[in-house]
Every structure is written in structure tokens, then in C-alpha cells.
């Protein structure tokens, strides 16, 4: 059933049906009702491609997903997408996933824009000076960054959490409890979130008058093995009594290493990790419940899609930086320094 047939069936023009269905005011309520009813009974659905062609809008938000065989997919991405999807569904638009190899990333954004498959895109996991921001600005593809860049040449809109503040507070908490040497397992510093967190940690040390080498930082892939090895090394080679982890996955590896070394969490070592809120890995269910900085990544996905769903192709967003506070949830994994 297409527009033409439906219009014939009703004995009105296609124009009228289209307007009635799309809520235009110049259709009498009586006609509108009749049209809507008929559309329902016949199960009419506009052909999306036809509508897109006619309106010039894609009705979709793009999400470029980089997949490399050697790099595992991020399980948090699904949480993020669930949030974005919910907001998109509410606005009646779609999430368009564009898988790509890392090296073809920019080309994928170009393709998405050029073929008009999406009206806007989400830029996730931004690097400090991420080329995608420049690219999207240049080609007029509206976007929101999930996270932040660390450049001020090009303004851009973003939604991010206060990584610096969160880790500042977490570090301060450890310091206040008397810890003098701490370890920090973090992501690679070319990613902004990692850089921000490091900044937060360092500023807390400075505030307390501790030297820079009071913290030993390991940067690396955010997986369990990296964290296990790093923790072993930290325990063997330094005198840390506090440990910060940039994710719960890292905390899992740390816990394994600490246990192996016979160290008791919350007593010998105080542990704080960042929790993106992921139902399959809950900090309160660790054998020693974990103190966490906490911010649900699903909410970020929702908010970004929400902001994006209003805007049409070509119309750039206001470059507002929306920074959310990070909660600090205290549980049993921390204690006073010996």
C-alpha cells in the first residue's frame, strides 16, 4: 500500500493524505481522522527512501564503530548505544551503525556524509587532537563529541563527564586517609579521558603538597591482563598503598594480582575504580565492595542522541560543552594507611 493507492482508496489527493499524516494544519480535523484511520487499517507506512529523497533528511544518527581484529570491542559501547537508541526511538529516528577499520575511519565519516545516510554523527573516544572534529566541521556534518578534545582551535559541542574532578576527588580521598604513594592504572594518554584523569590525580597531589613521584602511572589497553601485570609490577617495585583504576575491568585484574600477592583490599591496599555502570560487572558485588567514581555511560548516550535528534542536516549545533559531575561512591575497598 503506497500513498497513491491510499489516496485513491480515500478519494482524496496524495497531498491531502501526506499532510494529514504529517500533521500539517491546513487539513480539516475530519479529513485527518479519516486518513489516519485508513492508514492504520491498510497498514500504510511511507517508504523511507522516498521520504528521505523528498525531504532531504536522512532521519538517522550515525555511529562509526571501529572494528579491528586485534582490538576487542568495547562492551560499554552497547550500554552507550542502548541509551542513544532509546532517545532516537523516542524521536522517531534511527541509529545507523557504520562499521569500519581504524585506518578507514575518516573515509567512513566522509562516506556517511556524502551519501547522506545520516543527518549527524556521534564522535566517541576522542583523541586529544582528534582529526574527526576538523573533518566534520569542514564538511558540515553535525556532530557531538562523547568526551572532549584538548585543542581550542576548533569549537565543537560535546557531552562529557568531569573526569578530572572525579579523579581529583578520589585521589584526595586516598591522600586524606594517609596514603603517600599511589598507583594509577589508566588508558593511553592520547585519549582525552585518560589525560583528564591524570590531570585530576596530579592536581590533588599538588594540592596536598606531595611530590610528583608520589604517583606511579601505568598507561595501556584497558583490559584485565594489562592491569594484572601492572599491579604485580607496582606492588613489587613501589611502596604504593593506594590504587586507582580507570575502569572496573582494570579493577578485576588488579584484584586478582593483589589477592595473589596476599594483600588484603581495604587494608593493605586501598582501591578506587571508575564505574561506567555496567550491569554485568557491579562494583558492589566484588568480594570486597569497590569504592568508585561513577557515571552511567548509558545516560550520556541518551543525552547525545537527544541533542542530535532535533537538528537537521547542515544545521550545526551550538558548541556547548556539557560536563556532568561524577559521583564518588564509597565502599569497603578503602581504609586508612598503615
Amino acid at each position: 500500500m503506497d500513498l497513491k493507492k491510499l489516496a485513491q482508496e480515500l478519494g482524496v489527493s496524495q497531498t491531502t493524505v501526506s499532510r494529514a499524516l504529517n500533521g500539517y494544519p491546513e487539513v480539516s480535523e475530519k479529513t485527518r481522522k479519516r486518513v489516519i484511520e485508513a492508514a492504520n487499517t491498510y497498514g500504510y507506512r511511507p517508504h523511507s527512501a522516498a521520504r528521505r529523497l523528498a525531504t532531504g533528511q536522512a532521519g538517522a544518527i550515525g555511529f562509526v564503530m571501529t572494528i579491528n581484529d586485534d582490538v576487542p570491542t568495547d562492551p560499554l559501547m552497547m550500554e552507550f548505544l542502548a541509551g542513544a537508541g532509546a532517545a532516537a526511538a523516542k524521536a522517531g529516528i534511527d541509529i545507523h551503525i557504520a562499521p569500519t577499520a581504524k585506518e578507514d575511519e575518516l573515509e567512513t565519516y566522509r562516506r556517511l556524509a556524502g551519501s547522506r545516510q545520516v543527518d549527524s554523527v556521534i564522535i566517541s573516544a576522542p583523541a586529544q587532537d582528534d582529526p574527526r572534529i576538523g573533518l566534520c566541521t569542514e564538511i558540515g556534518l553535525p556532530f557531538i563529541v562523547h568526551g572532549r578534545a584538548m585543542q581550542d582551535k576548533i569549537p565543537y559541542p560535546c557531552v562529557d563527564i568531569d573526569n578530572e574532578g572525579g579523579f581529583h576527588e578520589a585521589t584526595k580521598l586516598l591522600l586524606n586517609m594517609g596514603h603517600k604513594q599511589i598507583g594509577f592504572l589508566n588508558g593511553p594518554t592520547y585519549l582525552t579521558f585518560a589525560a583528564h584523569r591524570e590531570k585530576g590525580v596530579r592536581s590533588a597531589l599538588a594540592d596536598t603538597g606531595l611530590p610528583e613521584d608520589a604517583v606511579t602511572i601505568h598507561n595501556g589497553a584497558m583490559n584485565e591482563e594489562f592491569s594484572y601485570r601492572s599491579t604485580l609490577q607496582l606492588v613489587e617495585e613501589t611502596q604504593i598503598s593506594g590504587l586507582l583504576c580507570s575502569s572496573l575491568i582494570l579493577a578485576v585484574g588488579a584484584v586478582r594480582a593483589l589477592r595473589e600477592k596476599g594483600l588484603v583490599i581495604g587494608k593493605d591496599i586501598s582501591l578506587i575504580a571508575h564505574d561506567d555502570v555496567f550491569a554485568y560487572l557491579r562494583p558492589d558485588l566484588f568480594s570486597i565492595p569497590l569504592t568508585c567514581t561513577r557515571s552511567p555511560i548509558r545516560n550520556a548516550g541518551y543525552r547525545i542522541a537527544e541533542r542530535l535528534s532535533g537538528i537537521k542536516r547542515g544545521q550545526m549545533l551550538s558548541c556547548e560543552h556539557e560536563i556532568w559531575p561524577v559521583d564518588l561512591v564509597v565502599r569497603k575497598s578503602i581504609g586508612a594507611a598503615a
Copy 2:
């Protein structure tokens, strides 16, 4: 830059440009080369909606993602999507994510088909008698089931792993090592994979001449907490010396409970879990490396998208059931019964 302009620029007709770019044979190689070069320098990309409208093909595979606030997203979904995405990218088509609340699920499939946004869909996590199979067959929306149904009224194509065989083998292994009482933490039995796995376990018992109550099964949500509680209960109320888990997440909870009870894995209790292969949770990195039935879910995603990417809208697939064997990887978490 659109077709028309590009054609003008080259001094040929739109037809010729279109044909050259789409690899039709009736264009001379000389012309084709010229056209392709021009397309590259001008950065021409066909408007996807226009092409879709003209060809009647959507060029996308649909993936309906149910999101309910109370039900967490499945992290494995991302692995699956990574595989599907890779195959889709290879074929030059897209994965179209359609988020939906559980109760609107069927409606979402209808909408996807009606508005022609996709040429085909993936049906994942099928229930024993899943209504989606009937629906898609009825409305002529091509699909492949990831997993299987348990009905034979309607034929359907699927890609699944041999859940029954895998758990049969795993159970047999435990029985051969002398275990007489085993526990089994499984998903809800309305989901086929869970039903199949139970079947495999039971048939192994029967083969060995053990009574039905040699196994105690707990069905529930596949999360860590369910598994933790269930394991505690099993240990307290039964005499099990072997434990099967339907996922690594369940194994995590089981390990926590067992450790808490002071039971040594591989000695007091033998543990086998199913591993969907998920880089963030590796069975070989458990403190006692885990024996597993193993099948990468990413491969399944790849294969399904691959099969789907050839077919065009309306053209149903052959109802082949593609069942993959499941590996049994033995590690230290199992040992002979006392």
C-alpha cells in the same frame, strides 16, 4: 556533486556514468576509467536514498535491539555486531539498529519491513516458539535466526552452535572424572539455547546410567548475582562436586561463591563454563584457568550477515540450518572426584 553535474562535467549522459560506476558491462573500459577518475576527484557519492528508491533495495540488514530499563544490555551483543558489521562492510551494506521496547518488538519488525528500511533482519535470542519467525515469514521479510527455535511448523534458516552437543560433552567429561552430582546454572528455558544445553546435560547423564536427579539446575537471568546466590545454595543444599555454567559471567559469580565457601576449584569442585569469547573476560585468566565449551559469537555474527548480504528484499533464503560444533577446551578448573 550529483550524478547530473558529474555527467555534464564529463560530457556524457547520466546513464553512462551510472553504469560505469556500477560495473555494468556495456560501458567501454576507456569511458569507465574516465568516469571513475572524475568521480574520485570530485568526491562524488550517490545519494543513498535516491538509489534505494530507484533500485527498491535498502542495502541494509536490520537488527532489532530490545532495550528495557530493567534489563541490562548484553555485552555479547557488541561482539556479535562487530562480526556482523565486518561482513556487512565487506559487502558494502549497512547494519541498521532499531531500538525497541520488548512489548513493541513485533511492531518494530513490521515497521522495518513496511517502510523498507532494511532488506532483511537478524532474529537473535529466539524463544522456543518465537513469534518473530512466523511474522517475518508472513510479511516476506527475509531473516536468519541466530540460534534456533523449537517448533517445526514453520521452516526457517538459522546459524547456531551445537549447544546440546557441547554440554553433552562437558557433562560427560565431568562424569568420566567420577562426579556423581552436578549443578548447572543456565538461562531461562524459554530461550532455546538454554533448553538445548539442558537436553545435552540430561542425555549425558542418561548415557552414563545416572538418575535424573544427579543434576540440579538453576535457571535465571544470566548475571553474576544470580549465579553467586545459586552457587551458594547448591553448595549448601546438595552434594555437587561438578558445576556447569552457561556463561563466563555466571562463572564469575560461581567462583566468588565457591571461594567464599572455602572450596578449591579443580579440587573440591570442578567447574566448566561456556565461553562466547569476549576479550574482556578471558577464561584462561581466571585465578584457576577455566575449562570451557567455546564458540566465538563474533564469528556467528559474521556468518549471518554474510549470508544475509547477498539476498534482496522479498527473496527468502533457503531454510538451511547451519549448526557449528562447539570446542571443549580443558584447563585446570576440573579434576577427578574425591
